[in-house]
């Protein structure tokens, strides 16, 4: 930090070639940025089947150009791009671009690298990967690949740096734009409303929540800790366009939280909630001017396109011609046209942008629209508020209203394309077709798995090509949600925002139910959880919003067991430590009791052992299965000893025995006899591994709860041999035998 000299900053701002002498020492000053070019959402489908979202044209400029130009205008020197889907296309685009190609001398960045992550499923995976690479030297800007903004970050960067130097824990500054409650057009992403709780004096962000119209409760629970800060504001009037100024500590936080996926909903919410654990402070920089928005869904795409045409985004307007070779000029009617645009007499183009080589025949009316390059618009066509990409052909007399028509689409003569229609690449629509208006059609030439779709003649006509695009339903999700889709994403998946046909709940603040929930099994109360509703409701909230503070211990149990079983199943020789870490994290997050942990661990190991006994997993004998389940992983035994048993005391060991027994009695598809044999084998294995001692096992044997049901009794009986042997061994007190066992242990451990 202290190396950032005054002159160095300015000079390093322009060091182009890393190979240049002196570039190394300047590197520390170079501003770095990370672009997340995939959001793992499918709100632009069917268009994103063929083209990555960041290359879709927004006012005839690929979206990523706005992002890169935004970074360049803020003097960013090193850029790292994370691509998910279609990464090869994005890379190719950058390689072919004379401006952004990192080898080109005119590139404003000294370096631009693509980072490929093959198994990433979320933004969280990207950032955890970034942490591992340790390429981030200092403060960096984290943005999405679909941002359109003319904000100058210098002031925010300076404030961030000052805060960080004053306090090392101030690790992130979120740049927000305040827009008032009823912003111009739909400047905010509708559907999901971010709620920031901010300390107005310091700008520190205290809590983050999201609300959306589909949730059952229309209120947000404030963390009691917020009230200790004295003054705070709760703001819903902020555009959050995902510009974060981060220190590398932020990446470390991501790494610590293996299950965070989204930068806001998971990460920001979680980090703020766990402030007492991680001690990190996050700040919000709230700006009153400048433009910032993310083309994160079609509604925002629509809205930003309008803003670009109306010059809210200056200097990112068509007649700035930011892309090489563009030649937009303002023409009459408040429109922009490139060279070689032919608008015949009698045609009228207002408030629109028209790309090079497009012809508009006489009698056509185009308003509030964006037309790509080399499109052919026929006679007497009416196009309103629509987006027509390159090489599209619109036949005579057609009308297109508030729709998106992708590249190389042919719309026949006298067609009617009603509001909200999405027509993807290469679709042909025959003459005189009227597309349905409710719901608006989404037509694609490809199916969801990128195979050519079978043309739907009733939809696109005899000479047409393309079919209704069906979103492949995610089976797991629909199971969870009892058939009612309550994902707010549905609000954003169409071009037109509408709550029509959706089942909105009408809760008000008066229905707020204070009712402490007790978990009957473990007797823990979940502090501060307001759950007056049924269990299904809780699941609902889980799936729609990661309010993991409101989790029931049940979900802890499920998550923990699944996590452990997965770790045990894993084929690699990875240490058990990461699973342990994960488990402990879950435990902390849920404030789980010792008994809950014990139960979860017992169930996990028993489940694995039982699995190993099944024919499809090798059909091992109970003894072998028990041995493999317990000892296959380094550190698993230690884990059981430390976490599950948790001490030398006899009572705790007995509890664990009981937990194992209960777990086995709960295993399905395992006959009682074999289950008993497995229990005996596991107990013996644990005994020989020094996890359980004779006294512990005997105490379990003596415990009444171990024999309180028939099933439990059956299991218990199978262990009689073991217990008797133990009793004998106890009596003999043969030190030699114990020594032998110790040696056996060592061999086992190796």
């Amino acid at each position: 930090m202290s190396k950032q000299g005054g002159k160095g900053g300015a000079a390093a701002g322009k060091a182009r070639k890393p190979a240049k002498p002196g570039a190394d020492e300047k590197r520390e000053d170079a501003l770095q940025a990370v672009i997340l070019a995939d959001s793992f959402q499918d709100r632009f489908k069917p268009f994103t089947l063929e083209t990555p979202r960041c290359l879709l044209p927004l006012v005839n400029v690929p979206v990523i150009e706005y992002t890169l130009e935004f970074l360049a205008s803020n003097g960013v020197q090193e850029v790292f791009i994370y691509c998910g889907a279609h990464s090869e296309k994005v890379e190719q685009y950058i390689q072919e671009s004379s401006r952004w190609n990192p080898n080109s001398i005119i590139s404003p960045f000294s370096s631009l690298e693509f980072i490929r992550v093959s198994d990433a499923n979320s933004i969280g995976d990207f950032l955890r990967d970034l942490d591992k690479r340790s390429i981030i030297a200092g403060d960096f800007i984290l943005v999405h690949g679909d941002i359109v903004s003319n904000i100058q970050l210098d002031a925010a960067l300076a404030k961030h740096r000052a805060r960080r130097e004053a306090n090392r824990d101030a690790c992130m500054t979120i740049v927000l734009r305040s827009v008032g409650e009823q912003p111009h057009r739909a400047a905010k992403a509708r559907g999901i409303t971010p709620v920031f709780v901010v300390d107005p004096t310091t700008g520190r962000c205290l809590q983050y929540e999201e609300t959306h119209p589909l949730q059952r409760e229309h209120y947000v629970n404030l963390d009691p800790a917020v009230f200790t800060h004295g003054e705070f504001e709760i703001r819903t009037d902020l555009i959050d366009c995902g510009i974060d100024i981060c220190t590398p500590d932020v990446l470390a936080l991501w790494s610590e939280s293996f299950d965070y996926e989204l930068p806001r909903k998971n990460f920001l919410h979680g980090v703020l909630k766990d402030w007492e654990l991680n001690g990190k402070m996050l700040y919000a920089e709230i700006l009153d001017n400048g433009y910032a928005a993310r083309a994160s869904n079609l509604q925002m795409y629509d809205c930003i396109s309008k803003d670009v045409l109306e010059r809210w985004t200056l200097p990112f307007v068509p007649d700035s011609n930011l892309i090489h070779g563009q030649t937009y000029r303002r023409v009459k009617g408040g429109s922009y046209a490139e060279d070689h645009v032919v608008v015949e007499r009698g045609a009228k183009v207002t408030q629109s942008a028209v790309g090079r080589g497009t012809t508009v025949k006489t009698g056509s009316l185009i308003s509030g629209s964006v037309i790509g390059r080399r499109c052919k618009i026929g006679k007497d066509v009416r196009i309103e508020n629509s987006y027509i990409w390159d090489y599209a052909v619109i036949g005579d007399g057609a009308s297109v209203v508030h729709s998106v028509i992708a590249g190389s689409v042919v719309v026949g003569a006298n067609c009617r394309i009603p509001e909200g229609s999405l027509i993807s690449f290469n679709v042909h629509i025959d003459d005189r077709i009227q597309l349905p208006s409710k719901p608006p059609a989404r037509i694609s030439a490809l199916t969801d798995d990128r195979q050519p779709a079978k043309s739907d003649v009733s939809l696109v006509g005899n000479g047409g090509k393309g079919a209704l695009y069906q979103v492949a339903a995610d089976d797991e999700e629909s199971d969870d949600e009892n058939g009612i889709k309550r994902d707010p994403a549905i609000l954003q998946s169409s071009l037109i925002y509408s709550l029509e046909g959706l089942n909105l709940s009408t809760s008000s603040i008066s229905t707020l139910a204070f009712e402490d929930d007790y978990d009957s099994d473990d007797g823990i109360s979940v502090a501060g959880s307001f759950q007056g509703n049924a269990f299904g409701d809780t699941r609902d909230r889980l799936s729609s919003f990661a309010s993991d503070d409101a989790l029931k211990p049940d979900s802890f149990h499920n998550d923990a067991v699944n996590g452990l079983v997965d770790a045990l199943r894993a084929d690699n020789n990875a240490d058990f430590d990461s699973a342990k870490l994960e488990f402990m994290g879950l435990r902390l997050a849920n404030n789980a009791s010792d008994s809950a942990m014990r139960r979860a661990i017992a169930v996990a190991f028993v489940r694995r052992a039982a699995e190993l006994m099944k024919p499809e997993h090798g059909g091992l004998e109970p003894t072998k299965a028990a041995e493999k389940a317990l000892t296959a992983k380094n550190g698993a035994v230690k884990f059981i000893k430390e976490v599950a048993v948790g001490g030398e005391e006899v009572a705790q060991q007995a509890e664990f025995g009981l937990a194992l027994q209960k777990a086995l009695s709960g295993v399905r598809n395992l006959e009682a006899g074999r289950a008993g044999a497995l229990l005996a084998a596991m107990l013996q294995q644990l005994y020989s591994l020094d996890v359980l001692e004779e006294d512990g096992i005997l105490a379990w044997w003596a415990d009444k709860r171990a024999a309180d049901s028939e099933e439990m009794n059956k299991l218990r009986e199978k262990c009689r041999v073991l217990v008797e042997w133990l009793e004998n061994a106890d009596e003999e007190e043969s030190s030699e035998e114990e020594d032998d066992e110790d040696e056996d242990d060592d061999e086992d451990d190796d």
Binding site: A11, K14, K17
Partner: protein
Amino acid sequence: MAPSQASYAPSLDNLIKSFNSQPLEASIESLIFLLKRRQVKGDECARATAHILRQVVAKSKWHDVDQLLSRVQSAGSRLVRAAPLEPVIGNIVRRVLGLIRDEASEDRNNADDVTSEAASDIQTLGPSAPPPLPRPVPVPIRPGPSAISAGMQVSKSMFNLLSVADPGDSPATGASTPLSQAQPASVHALRSEVMDGIEEILDEINQADDQIAGFSDIQIHPGDYVLAYQPTRSVERFLVKAASKRRFTVIIACLDSPNSGAAEPPYATLRKKLNTAGVNTINLVSNGLMAYIPRVNKVIFGAKAVYQNGGLLVDSGCCIAAQAAHEHLKPVIVLCPVYKFCPEDPSDEVSRGELGTPSSYVSYANGPGVDALEVENTVTDYIPPELVDVYLTNLGPQTRHHLASILADHYKTEDIGFSLQLGEP
């Protein structure tokens, strides 16, 4: 711990600092994007153009004058296209082109025939005199210290507006130079001469404001009420200079911008300076302007560019002030350094005005109301010539009848249409 200083945003100063560390093409391209992103605008454009053309002359490869001209033309036209509403860029490019032609013709004259030298002095005024191509054969030239010639030529010719035909005037220095030089040396010499010439253009740009301010005591009389509409930096300097000699009253008119949000009232520093010099100031938002006009003695504002018909490109709002003054027969004084004179007519786009962002007038928070509106925020105005009375240049006050001769002095006819010569990129 180091103070948190470094501003990351690229700027013209950073760019100029980086000239030595990066290739020419990168510098040009950076400037183009600074222009496109409006991170260099207004008065900075002239300086930026001169700097970058100096780099073009210094760094690009050329072996004769034609190559040099085409290098400068192509770089220049790219800059012009990047910012079509900054005509100053084109002016500077034309000036540099003219400078190169001058230097080259001097050299050639020396080589061909020393005696014919005088005849070519007024080359620029004859439209029928394209400079002959330099021969690829070794041309002996004058390597002399002609540093003065380009700059001097400008100012000298300005003072001889009405006697342009005076043959002994400009390149008097050429006569005494040795004649035999080899071609590489000629290129070398030409390069350094042209670069010196560009330095002088830069000096001229930097000094123009001060020179204009030097005329302030002539223009402003004691007891005057002067309306300064949205004073630019040169107008501020002009007023402050005048304040040191005269007692008068300044009415500062500015736009009432709802979103400015600045803590200080506009032009606070200017008012402070004027007040310390004993000059009264009155602040005025533009809709109160008409009421004050009868009281005002003269209206002053700065121009972004002056076209050959005498029309002005100005910041938006000035046109209202000029029109108001015209109605009341008050003189309108426009401060415009000579480098802002464009040898062309205003284009369609210019007369329609550049559009800015609507956010300076309406806010996002205005919500649904704004959705229904079309907000056009013109940031430039075009003022027709009949509204302007005095063009106060760094060479003295002019009327529009003299503009043609100023243009003729500064630009060569063959360069006037240079930006049209090059087609698509």
